[in-house]
């Protein structure tokens, strides 16, 4: 693809993903929110394809849009928690929410500002790497073997934790 068509796809997908994210926050129905999030994940997967990383794009769809969001929907539907109840005034904690949200937004704006005024993220300097599955696998298991294994152990710990928590307690004799 030429750089012009890449730019058009980028603009389209950026619009789709940002508006889907905003709609996810605004929609009052939890199932609709989940669907907007799925759209967001899919648009980001298209961005990965444009960035010449098809492997990551497919994994993004399989893991996020496929497995995780189906689980979200499953939980929402099982609990019957589609409709958002008004949370204002519950325990009087909403002012903390606002304060925390304000601080986070301020940090985000400052971060963007710093990046923009320092002249971009330096993305132009990164080398174009071979993103085929084989190259990715070799890179993961040769250059980044330690982080990979550490992540694996973390995930394993989480799985074991879930198994322990959901196990039925035996009756004490």
């Amino acid at each position: 693809m030429g750089s012009g068509s890449v730019f058009i796809v980028f603009i389209l997908m950026a619009l789709v993903s940002v508006s889907a994210a905003v709609m996810m926050l605004l929609s009052k129905n939890a199932v609709h929110s989940a669907l907007w999030l799925v759209l967001n994940f899919t648009a980001i997967a298209v961005l990965y394809v444009v960035l010449n990383a098809p492997f990551i794009a497919m994994v993004q769809i399989t893991v996020y849009a496929g497995a995780i969001m189906v689980l979200f929907l499953f939980v929402i539907m099982l609990l019957g928690a589609e409709q958002l109840q008004g949370i204002s005034g519950v325990h009087g904690t909403e002012r903390y929410h606002r304060a925390v949200a304000f601080v986070l937004v301020a940090l985000l704006v400052v971060g963007f500002g710093v990046v923009i005024f320092n002249g971009g993220t330096g993305g132009g300097e990164t080398a174009v790497i071979d993103a085929s599955p084989v190259a990715l696998g070799l890179r993961l298991f040769e250059a980044y073997v330690l982080p990979f294994e550490v992540t694996g152990i973390l995930l394993l710990a989480a799985i074991i934790g879930v198994a322990v928590f959901t196990r039925r307690k035996k009756k004490e004799a």
Binding site: I61, T62, G66, V70, P133
Partner: protein, 366 residues
């Protein structure tokens, strides 16, 4: 080729393949009804369309190909039925759900190789005949699209605002998550044996023997997981007529119901094509290297074989109970596929390191 030519070629091939699959869907419904009827000692649909053959010496005429216009009659019926929207449904999701069900079924077609390197009317199709040939993450693409294909059913169940439908939807999501794990792990085995995620390479690697002979266990697990993904009997708990009346699609009528129907049969064809490509040699068969056009024929014959298997299984097995379904998925198929995966991986590494050669030498054979 320029990007424009590639896109044009994909468009033309996509049009042909989509048209073929829609025709195939119509005749798969007829195949299912006829075969089921034969397996139950009935005749099946035989009124709509036949070729009359006069019988020698008078008597009633014989009917050839009885019922071959039945799919057309069904389509006309579905289109002209009233398309109702019940009162308290979630209107947008209710309308979107049938479309979300059909779309993944069609998108899956994009990477399936239908024939080898072939020249049709002077147009060369390399490295193989598909809508998007040569994709190096094709197997992952299949898994990704399969994993989002559950949304249609789940959303149809939820949006219908009906207890039966939502039970069907919840069952569907639990079932698909459970069986996707075993399916994903078995898909890795052809990838490892062929050393590629490109479906063309996987087919080419089976030139000297289909993977089903090298890994029969993986093929069986894949077939079972595939039936569960398709929600065919005996895994059709989400539309169990006796318990849920019709499950997720109980509130749908007219062509919107027809779209669920269509998605089910199209996915039957496409998953048959996937198992053929991964384990049964794809378009390969006798003389296919001399006559590449035979690839289409072999592919279609193998697909029809698997469609027949699925219909046969539907007629033979009772539906699973819910705990049996979950037990089979998590306690049997998942461990089997994990251990199979590990064993295959270890053996491939041992072979590449030349351990077997030195063992044979040690025994004085090699």
């Amino acid at each position: 080729m320029t990007p424009g030519q590639i896109a044009l070629r994909a468009l033309i091939v996509g049009f042909i393949v989509s048209f073929a699959i829609i025709t195939g869907f119509a005749y798969t419904t007829l195949l299912e009804r006829k075969v089921l009827a034969r397996l139950q000692h009935r005749v099946g649909p035989n009124r709509a369309g036949y070729i009359p053959l006069p019988r020698r010496g008078g008597g009633p005429e014989r009917k050839l190909l009885a019922g071959f216009l039945q799919p057309a009659a069904d389509a006309v019926k579905l289109f002209f039925k009233e398309d109702m929207t019940p009162g308290k449904v979630d209107r947008i999701t209710y309308t979107l759900a049938p479309m979300i069900t059909v779309m993944p079924a069609i998108i899956l077609l994009a990477v399936i190789p239908w024939a080898g390197e072939i020249t049709i009317f002077g147009a060369e199709f390399t490295p193989y005949f598909a809508i998007a040939p040569g994709l190096n993450v094709a197997v992952l693409f299949l898994l990704a699209i399969t994993s989002i294909s559950v949304y249609g059913v789940v959303l149809a169940g939820w949006a219908s605002n009906s207890k039966y439908a939502i039970l069907g939807g919840i069952r569907a999501s639990a079932q698909m998550i459970s069986y996707e794990l075993a399916l994903g792990l078995t898909v890795l085995i052809p990838i490892m044996l062929a050393d590629s995620m490109n479906l063309g390479d996987i087919v080419a690697a089976q030139a000297n023997g289909w993977f089903v002979f090298r890994q029969p266990l993986a093929a069986i697990v894949f077939f079972i997981g595939m039936m569960a993904e398709l929600q065919r009997a005996p895994f059709d708990l989400l539309e169990a007529e006796q318990e849920l009346s019709a499950g997720f699609n109980v509130e749908y009528s007219g062509m919107r119901f027809g779209m669920f129907f269509m998605a089910e049969y199209m996915k039957m064809i496409i998953f048959s094509a996937i198992i053929v490509v991964l384990f049964f040699g794809g378009y390969r068969g006798p003389f296919v290297d001399q006559l590449p056009g035979l690839g289409f024929l072999y592919m279609i014959l193998k697909i029809i074989f698997f469609l027949f298997m699925m219909i046969w299984i539907r007629a033979s097995f009772p539906r699973f109970r819910y705990d049996q379904l979950m037990g089979l998925g998590w306690k049997r198929l998942l461990p089997i596929s994990v251990f199979n995966f590990i064993i295959v991986a270890v053996f491939i590494v041992l072979q590449e390191e030349g351990v077997f050669d030195s063992l044979l030498k040690l025994l004085g054979v090699g």
